[in-house]
Amino acid sequence: MTADTPPRLTSLGRALAALAVLAVAIGIASVTIVLSSDHTSSRGFAAALILIAGWGFVGTGLYAWYRRPGNRTGVLLTAVGFTWFFQALESSDNAAIFAIGAIGINLPFAILIHLLVAFPSGRLEGRLQRTVVAGAYFVTVVLQWLWIPFVNPERQGCEGCPENPIRIEGQEGVADAVNAVQTAIAIPVVAATIAIIYLRWRRSPPSERRVLTPVIATGALAFALLFVLLVLDPAGASDGAQRAVFIAAVAAFACLPFALLAGLLRSRIGRDEELRSALTAENEQLTSELRAKVEELRASRARIVEAGYAERRRVERDLHDGAQQRLVALAMSLKLARSRLEADPQTSAELLDEAIAELGETTRELRELARGIHPAVLSDRGLEAALGALADRSPVPVEVVGTPPERLPAAVESAAYFVVAEALTNVARYAEAEAASVELGREDGALAVEVADDGVGGADPTAGTGLRGLADRVAALGGELRVESPPGGGTKVRARIPLDG
């Protein structure tokens, strides 16, 4: 399926592979930090949780990113995974690293809120969603930065934590105040997140609901635990209880990436949108191609119709100026002869002779006209005889070779005949050629016709109506006509006419 294959496969693939390598390195470093920590209780369990959740988010995030490059969910998942490792930094015995960990430790929760609120399309819609996500980032980034300089880890209940290197002494009250604001904002943000995902689940049709349920359940559980954690502290719960809820919440978060990935890949919403945009682009291209073809067709059809009218006008003019005038003159000659029959038999006989000669001319003219409209020899005898007759009439010596002996579809024979007729007429008129050749052959289900001369060349196929009309006639049968006429290099008219029409 085209929608599953990103267009920038190689560059995107390389970038994502680099991120994966980075995540592996960071994960190993994180485990090292946690396992060597002085102040972290149950280090093995903490390291395992950090690694499973961190790699889980990064891995599923990169996979989702690769499969759905247009959907932001993959990017957000990856970001959650990388920021997850900030937790490990808090286990560091180095004061600076510990501080960095303290700054970033809450960031993955904000990104998770962003991710869940925007799931599964990856886009935030409406004011409520934007406000909730903005609140989450405000608490975990802005307020976190504000809080850091005033916090005393020891006073937070951390035994053996390193000193806060940027701590402003004696301002614990400010830290407490900021912490209170954080909690005050975080509680409604988390509550709103749970509400949003619950409502999304409620409003989904049953088919979507089946897909969303694991995500919603895991997400709701994780955030419910987070919510409990947030209200436990102001409620004055014991550290042990808070610790237990925190571990449960982290475990729930660790499961989340896999639930999200499953949901994202099974979700038809994201897929449909990408498919739709891919189809729309393809459709637009096809439409414009089709429009160009229709325009070309309309133009050539108009030219064919116009050529038909022009041909009829020519026939009408030839009949009117030729045969009809001659017949009128003939009637006059005959009447004159009749009136002088007795008085002047000599003049009368001369007039009759004139009339007879006039009649001969008229018949000859009519015959030529009929041949121009349709050569009877072509329908009676086929191309070989008709082309032979054309060659016989040409004032330039013409050699005809390769005419298929069998009869071809009438339209093909007719088109080939008129291509040769027009080309030979041009040879006689303009080419100043010593000789010309007509070569026919079958190739790939088509009749190939080539008329070549050794004359002066320089013919412009767009200048006259003759070749243009022939090109349209050939194109109407699905074929093509080309003219090669370099100055001084003779002229080649080539037509390819499909035999199956």
């Binding site: 007879i356 015959r367 005889a385 032979g388 007759a389 060659a391 016989d392």
Partner: protein
Amino acid sequence: MRVVLADDSTLLREGVARLLEAAGLEVVGQAGDAEDLLRKVRAHKPDVAVVDVRMPPTHTDEGLRAARQIRDELPDVSVLVLSQYVEVAYARDLLAESAEGLGYLLKDRVTDIDAFAEAVRRVGEGGTALDPEVVSQLLGRRRREDPLGELTGREREVLGLMAEGRSNAAIAAELVVTERAVEKHVTGIFAKLGLTAGGETHRRVLAVLRYLDGAP
């Protein structure tokens, strides 16, 4: 001389019949299509059948096919084919085996009453009448190395009349020269073109036509 006429145009058929009767020929039957023609030819066994190329039902070359059939079936009946237009290809077909008792003329020629009656008579007697238009197409064909270029103007005229099927006497009358002079020209032409002089007129026609048609 007895004639059967075939043409789907009654007007033209009646006209031709009148011309031929006026010229002293006897029109024993008239037909409007090829089938009718074959029936009447078989019944009357005329000296010559004058046949229009285009007839019902397809109005293409029924006349030509009927002409071939008559020549196969009744070799004693000569055939003169009339056509609105003449093509070398048709002449080649008709003359494939023999030029004896065969004519192929443009329909317009009927207006030249004497010449037409003469042609009918000539064909009826086993001779040949090939339209000057066909002959001029053959003679006018441009060739890269034209052997006809060696002929004198008078020789070309004689060659043309020979190709039409005229006898030496007729050529002499046409060109207003003696028959002896015509014979001299004929010998000269045959020598220049490398042909062996034919005996009877219709054999000579075939030799000349084959030469002209096949010359490179």
